[in-house]
Symmetry: C2
Amino acid sequence: MTIPVSPCSKGLMLLFVLLALHTTAQKISPYVQTTSKLLELPSKVLGETRTIYIHCPKADSTNPNKTYPVLYLMDGESHFDMLAQYADYLSRWDVNVIPQMIIVGIVNSKRTRDLTPTESIINYFGQPDTSKVSWMKPSGGNERFLQFIREELKPYVERHYKTQPYTILAGHSFGGLASIYCLLTHADMFQGYISVSPSLWWDREYVLKLTDQKLKKGAPLNKTLFFSDASEGVSDSSTFHTNLLKFDAVLAAKAMTGLRYQYNYYPKETHMTEPMLAYYDALRFIYKDWKNP
Amino acid sequence: MTIPVSPCSKGLMLLFVLLALHTTAQKISPYVQTTSKLLELPSKVLGETRTIYIHCPKADSTNPNKTYPVLYLMDGESHFDMLAQYADYLSRWDVNVIPQMIIVGIVNSKRTRDLTPTESIINYFGQPDTSKVSWMKPSGGNERFLQFIREELKPYVERHYKTQPYTILAGHSFGGLASIYCLLTHADMFQGYISVSPSLWWDREYVLKLTDQKLKKGAPLNKTLFFSDASEGVSDSSTFHTNLLKFDAVLAAKAMTGLRYQYNYYPKETHMTEPMLAYYDALRFIYKDWKNP
């Protein structure tokens, strides 16, 4: 037996088929993780345009004038996604152990130039690198790079974003060296300093010696500092780890008034895996006593 | 003295001014972190359309046919960004401790229904929750949820992405419970299992008892399992932590052939901060002996 199908019910059937197809079809679209921006910022100080990544917390509709601390991150191309994700996750309402933060990632142009304090050709193992073209050249531009942050980048961020006065400088390796150098020479620029595996070996321990010279015993230094290292110096028998121990000993001996600091050693991590744990621990340390207001 | 300005040089000056303005202007654009997609997948098994986040490694132009292990993550809305960032970072050429992976985040619709193995109204402290409307209701749909993964989600992912046979199931809390339940009842579905703070308290330790029943001493179970807990049960005097210790003891007593497992305890972390460390440690543990081919 066949049921006669009128043109009308045929149309109806087609509609059902189309509807059925529609409801069983998968839809795929881009997934937008976070509210981050890419800024091209021309710098007179550096004579070049710098790429900056800026990550903001999701807007709080109940508090549109809310302001945020700002973390300035060196090696933006390496660790910006990490810090943005850490800051978002740890400040979620159901995690809630640090405040929501703005993350500003500075992408390198000439990394060795910007993140080292002196001109030097002495390599990781204390030997002169006399090759004409070397990854160590040029070097010694950290002073100018900090000037760029102070006079151009920070004012831009403070003009365009809802910032709090509390700011953090964070870096890894040469960036860790630059973070300590900034604390020693321009402590007023930031309140918190994160230095993950600082390259204290640079220029025959220049910054290690500077630490001893600059810090006057018992003097006030109302800052927070987290520093760390991993298997460097153990895996490669360089002075990397002993330099960190010396730096830690200098801080202990100087007993600066108001300085809150923590040194973490991660012997199971490499120079490159360490940032994942160290940046987590650094944020937890800086905001140890923080309570959501 | 005034220098006469011709219309032409006026135009030239204007051009210079415009050029100067152009070179000092900041440019801002969206920052796209990762290559992730949002999929709306209709499920016949569940009778609803499910939202799925899919993260792929950046394409390798030197190896366009490269395939990847796949990690299936429960509570996608909570931990997808984290796992995507961890997988990308740890597989970078200069970090290189795990393979590049595809992360599939399953967003919850009815979380308690999908991630619990039995219907139960016994709450975290072992008391019946008799309220008509409760976050515990409905429950007991984990079997059907695993069927959805097995029959619909995995086939979709394997059809549309360059997958390897190696797959991991990862979850936290109820998701951790579901991960262990899957290992006990459908071990073939995955090769690796991650269970961060599993809610072994569910239904008077149902899954804990099932572990003892299902695992036959010395039987083959060629799987990798990472499980962990944090301050739960210490901070709240529940049986959370003692349940984990019991589970660990059962695994030791059963001495399954081929089972590689690790239990991490994070007493300083909360139920919600723990995933940041546990997912890191889980990936490192699963790929402990991995070498980039």
